[in-house]
């Protein structure tokens, strides 16, 4: 089971960040969310926090998406020493998507009105 992302219909409303922080912290704070929407002029890109890696890599470079150059670090889901996203702001503890528990019930998917995020069985 995974969360499928369709960046073409993401509107940048960030309700997913709100839903995630509310579900995990009991308050609303996008800086503590395990999903982040990277807002761009041409499109927005929701990225879901993946596993923590102890070392930063230097292999990501620039990727091209929809004809726009995107920093590979933006596309990468890992929480790593080189990034400030996917970490608790105060403690630096890495954050990782847990599908909001077992059975999976990801709140970001429920709060995504345009359906840019969907839960799929595969």
């Amino acid at each position: 089971m995974r969360i499928k992302i369709d960046h073409k219909i993401c509107t940048g409303c960030k309700q997913c960040e709100i839903a995630c922080s509310l579900a995990h912290t009991g308050a609303v704070n996008p800086w503590r969310s395990r999903i982040r929407v990277f807002v761009g002029e041409e499109f927005c890109l929701p990225v879901i926090a993946g596993p923590y890696t102890e070392a930063a890599c230097n292999s990501e470079g620039i990727r091209v998406l929809e004809g726009v150059e995107v920093d590979g670090c933006v596309l990468c889901r890992a929480s790593c020493p080189a990034k400030s996203v996917y970490k608790e702001p105060d403690t630096g503890i890495p954050l990782k998507c847990d599908f909001c528990g077992e059975p999976p019930n990801p709140q970001c998917v429920k709060w995504c009105a345009p359906n840019a995020l969907t839960l799929v069985e595969e």
Binding site: T11, C13, S21, G26, N29, F38, V85, K110, W111, A113
Partner: protein
């Protein structure tokens, strides 16, 4: 505390210092937030008779208890000051990311006082508040300003891509710097706190921009109830089609509806119908032509905003909108029939930082003066019949106050008056009338004429109430809607989504979940009524009287649309009666007592 932070950030521009104040509980309980708090503070702290462009005016950026809470479509912030255009109290609202960032920084209100000795901009990152010289920003267009401010913030706080594009910026373009009386405050790539000329107030204070990046939280009293409430609301919006409709078209469905029903401001309100706009009656046509992507405000699942682009190397950037009001006022009303030309005008107004509605009314007025032979070509430097793209040149002249632009920057009455025909400026209290032609619906003329801020569409929406076509109920719906929107603007909840008759009950529901205080629909609407009356008192002290609650003679005397005129005098009598104001439009002592404003009207008697 739930909902609110209870903190006011005050910035003293003459000394370049800031301080944080505790917010009195009475302000939260009595005025909710946003517009209500702004109107209260202006009433208490600003002498209504001052020159709005003097340092005595205060500029307030306000959030409400719902801002940043995740309540759907609750991201808007209010900007407030005495308007240099209408001389009234004013509180335009604006979407985007700025409001939530101000809130996550830990403040409910941000108040600018006095005038800075030189150009400055302000950066806010939680308790780090810096007033920084803005010499390098002065003179820059809005998008350039935001780009540089973003880079400055990136360097200062070592921001990653996500944080960089999550911040909010409010800024002015050259029009605000030059104190054009209908300059607006721009935000986040083309959004605007538009109507009442507050860009000029910001310019008069030498304040170029405010950037906010908050990393704090908003606490919610009843998390479970709130989450369930939001999900139930989502289900409702899915089932009644609002989600789809708003996201697909935003306000782009309106030019067609307005045109088809002969209600579109056209040729300086000489008509309600533009033949050239018939091709845009299907909103899919507009979407195919200019849309880049759907662009939501923070926390808004409806995302009515649209980012657009035209194929013209002279206009390389994407733009926000144009929204329906812009399409009508800068488009049909100026005789433009090509959507790409409307986009050019929208792009220029956004970059220069001018309200597209009043600017459109100014241009269409100049066009009519020119065609009627009252405005000589040598004063303009070019011909300017309806539909002429020379209007783009005029937009720049206004923003930079060049030649005739210097006079036009002072507003419609000064300009049209100079050429002997003040009646040809289609405005109310100096502010241009928005897109829907008042002759199409009587209640609309009444709403525009009685709006506390001037000729605005944002202080009461066109009645969507059941029974709205019954003339006996026009006045009732107008009052009801004005009170409701005063409360929604205080939440701050987006009235574009939450129309009173559709979702008017949601405001109290969200407030209750978020703050933990029991609100009712009647209760919040009563607070709205108090706010409305307080604003009226401010305006009266500023010199506004019954004669200012007026419409241009074209609307009341010349049957242009549907062979009708607006019977404003009769409607006003009924409106004052229903508001329990006297025949001159002054709130009665009994009314003020009822809404809890016992002392505020004392010195007016």
């Amino acid at each position: 505390m739930f909902g609110w932070h209870g903190k006011i950030l005050r910035i003293d521009l003459p000394t370049g210092t800031s301080r944080v104040e505790e917010m009195p509980a009475s302000l939260m309980r009595g005025y909710i937030g946003g517009r209500g708090m702004c109107s209260r503070i202006l009433f208490d702290e600003v002498n209504p008779s001052i020159d709005p462009l003097s340092p005595e005016n205060k500029l307030i950026f306000a959030t409400g208890p719902l801002t940043g809470s995740g309540a759907p479509a609750a991201s808007r912030f209010i900007v407030s000051a005495k308007s240099p255009l209408s001389n009234c109290v004013s509180s335009p609202c604006c979407g985007g990311y700025f409001g939530s960032n101000l809130k996550y920084s830990g403040y409910d209100l941000l108040i600018f006082e006095g005038k800075s000795p030189g150009p400055v901009y302000v950066t806010i990152r939680n308790d780090q508040v810096e007033i920084v010289p803005a010499g390098h920003l002065w003179g820059k267009l809005s998008s350039e300003t935001e780009k540089i401010v973003r880079e400055d913030m990136k360097k200062k706080y070592d921001l990653d891509n996500w944080a960089l594009n999550s911040m909010g910026i409010a800024d002015i373009g050259p029009a605000g710097e030059n104190m054009v009386r209908f300059a607006c405050i721009m935000s986040d790539g083309g959004r605007a706190a538009g109507r009442s000329g507050l860009g000029a107030v910001m310019g008069s204070k030498n304040l170029k921009a405010v950037a906010a990046l908050g990393t704090g939280q908003v606490s919610i009293a009843d998390v479970e109830g709130f989450r369930n409430g939001v999900m139930a609301f989502y289900q409702e919006a899915l089932e009644n089609g609002e989600f789809y409709k708003r996201r697909r078209y935003g306000t782009w469905s309106l030019p067609g509806r307005a045109n088809a029903s002969k209600s579109q401001a056209t040729f300086n309100f000489k008509s309600g119908y533009s033949e050239a706009f018939v091709k845009y009656e299907n909103p899919e046509v507009i979407r195919d032509l200019i849309r880049v992507r759907d662009e939501a405000c923070f926390a808004c699942p409806f995302s009515c905003g649209k980012r657009s682009r035209i194929k013209d190397p002279e206009y390389p950037l994407t733009a926000k909108g144009p929204e329906h009001e812009t399409m009508a006022l800068l488009g049909a009303n100026c005789g433009l029939g090509d959507m790409e030309d409307v986009c050019r005008a929208n792009y220029l107004c956004n970059e220069l930082g001018m309200d597209t509605i009043t600017t459109g009314a100014m241009i269409s007025c100049a066009m009519e003066l020119f065609e009627e032979g009252h405005l000589p070509e040598e004063d303009l430097g070019f011909h300017l019949e309806f539909g002429s793209t020379n209007m783009f040149l005029l937009l720049k002249k206004i923003a930079y106050r060049e030649g005739i632009g210097n006079l036009m920057a002072e507003g419609g009455l000064a300009f049209a008056g100079k050429y002997g025909h003040p009646e040809l400026f289609m405005g109310i209290k100096g502010m241009g009338i928005p897109a829907w032609h008042p002759q199409a619906f009587d209640a609309l003329g009444l709403q525009y004429a009685t709006s506390n801020t001037g000729g605005a569409h944002t202080k009461s929406t066109m009645p969507f109430y059941e029974g709205r076509k019954d003339p006996a109920r026009f006045v009732e719906f107008t009052k009801k809607d004005q009170d409701y929107i005063a409360a929604a603007d205080s939440g701050v909840l987006c009235w574009i989504i939450y129309h009173g008759p559709l979702w008017g009950e949601k405001l109290a529901e969200w407030l209750t979940y978020v703050t933990g205080i029991e609100y009712t629909q009647e209760g919040v609407n009563k607070l709205g009524e108090k706010i409305w009356n307080l604003e009226r008192l401010f305006n009266m002290k500023a010199g506004i009287t019954r004669k200012d609650d007026a419409l241009p003679p074209r609307i009341t005397n010349e049957p242009r649309v549907k062979n009708r005129v607006v019977p404003l005098d009769a409607l006003l009598v009924e409106y004052y009666r229903l508001r329990e104001w006297d025949e001159n439009g002054a709130p009665t002592r009994e009314k003020l007592h009822e809404v809890g404003l016992d002392d505020e009207g004392a010195d007016l008697e």
